[in-house]
Amino acid sequence: MERALNLSKVNRVFLEEVKSSHTGRTVPYCYQCGTCSSSCPVAEEMDIKPHEMVEMIKLGLTDALIRCKAIWQCTTCYMCTERCPQEVQLTLIILGLRNIAMREGAVIPEAVKESCKNLYETGRLVTPSRFQRQQREKLKLPEVLQVDTEPIKGMMKKTAVAGILEVK
């Protein structure tokens, strides 16, 4: 990643957009102490460190953020959120960045596509295979009932992945 600040790439409405969402509402409280990054189990692998993400939101460096690898390397372990002295909910902020990345069409990871298709079709992320159904029966575990998928279909159609759902 290019470390020098390129002001021609600043998106001035980005901070407002993030701040007004449920996931991003704690962004303004960050004072850049770096506790999050020093508590993060994957920070050393990340191209943009957790504390840098927050500052980049404030600076409006949208493009670099929604295209970075780091937002997908986060394990959502909530360690940063736990230790932040300012109660910045950084895990939620990163999930929010993923939402924006998909909405802006920057990326839709293969794993997400697959999970969303399953969810759309069956109402579950994973469903028991035939073997697993037989195994449940053998163990006298109750049958896994079908989910009413209509509400889920309605919900998924509101999301950034709507376009990929009907194609099987």
Partner: protein, 292 residues
């Protein structure tokens, strides 16, 4: 005690030993469960990555279904489901706009409303808080005396305590006290609070297995004989993928890994079959010699 029972998609199909052992343990403890096997996905991290509000509406739908069945508490086995439910409740309290947004999605798609008034409970809390260690001791007929165990509670059960407080997030004791009441010794290991890597498996497999490897190394160095966890995903990383991690690191671990309900069930007199021990990947035989 009468609770809605939501094992979660993952447990229902991929972690049958957790479903089985949890049901058998609760039956012995006299906890009455109401099936929720027709409930949808809880909206975990991968769905939150697509749309946080829609994922929350999925969680809220299950909580609303629970309420409709006349229940106030929903028991989960998976800390990820637990955290999805908790975060709807706390999110509703912290942010009214969010509550409205999620309810709007929920009513327009499922014709339901949710107020934030169903209590999600992880099964570890049912054992530790509702039954209690004293109540539990009346059901214990065998012990694993002297077995050293590395306890792995699961991130999403513990964090973040700024929104909810299940156990001490920096020094969790709940699961440790449960296994200690079964005669085991919970050992200190430096990476206990770290993520097992499961949530990144779908996005970055190598990173995910690297994180699992770090944990297994830390556990081995601590001298633990086995691992006990309350999370089905941690169980997969540390048990099912242990041989794969061993190959990548060219290092032998051979550490049996249990769901805590399996160990608990064995001490309550359930057979290895009744807690689904045969479905664990790493052979637990060297630990079973200790039970008595």
């Amino acid at each position: 005690m009468r609770y809605g029972y939501f094992p979660g998609c993952y447990v229902l199909s991929r972690k049958l030993q957790y479903d089985l052992s949890a049901r058998n343990v609760m039956k012995k403890l006299g906890v009455e469960i109401v099936e929720m096997t027709d409930a949808p996905c809880c909206g975990p991290a991968i769905v939150k990555s697509v749309d946080y509000s829609v994922a929350s509406a999925l969680s809220a739908r299950i909580l609303a279904m629970t309420k409709e069945r006349g229940l106030n508490t929903l028991v989960t086995l998976c800390p990820e489901c637990f955290s999805s439910f908790i975060k709807v409740n706390t999110g509703f309290k912290e942010d009214v706009k969010f509550k409205e947004e999620v309810n709007h999605i929920l009513s327009s798609t499922a014709g339901l409303k949710y107020n934030g008034d169903v209590e999600p409970k992880h099964i570890l809390q049912v054992v530790y808080e509702d039954i209690g260690l004293k109540g539990l001791s009346e059901h214990i007929i065998k012990r694993f005396n002297g077995v050293k165990v590395a306890v792995q509670p699961g991130c999403h059960f513990l964090r973040a305590s700024t929104s909810y407080y299940a156990d001490d997030p920096e020094d969790p004791r709940m699961l440790d006290e449960v296994v200690e009441s079964l005669g085991m010794e919970s050992v200190y290991w430096p990476l206990k609070l770290w993520c097992c890597g499961a949530p990144t498996l779908a996005f970055d497999r190598e990173l995910s297995l690297k994180l699992a490897g770090r944990k297994l190394r830390s556990i081995k160095a601590s001298g633990a004989d086995c691992i006990v966890t309350a999370c089905p995903y941690c169980h997969t990383q540390l048990d099912q993928y242990q041989p794969m991690v061993e190959r990548r690191l060219n290092e032998k671990f051979g550490i049996p890994t249990f769901l805590f309900t399996q160990i608990l069930g064995l001490c309550m007199g359930l057979s290895p079959e009744e807690v689904g021990l045969h479905m664990n990947r790493v052979s637990p035989s060297k630990i079973l010699d200790f039970i008595g």
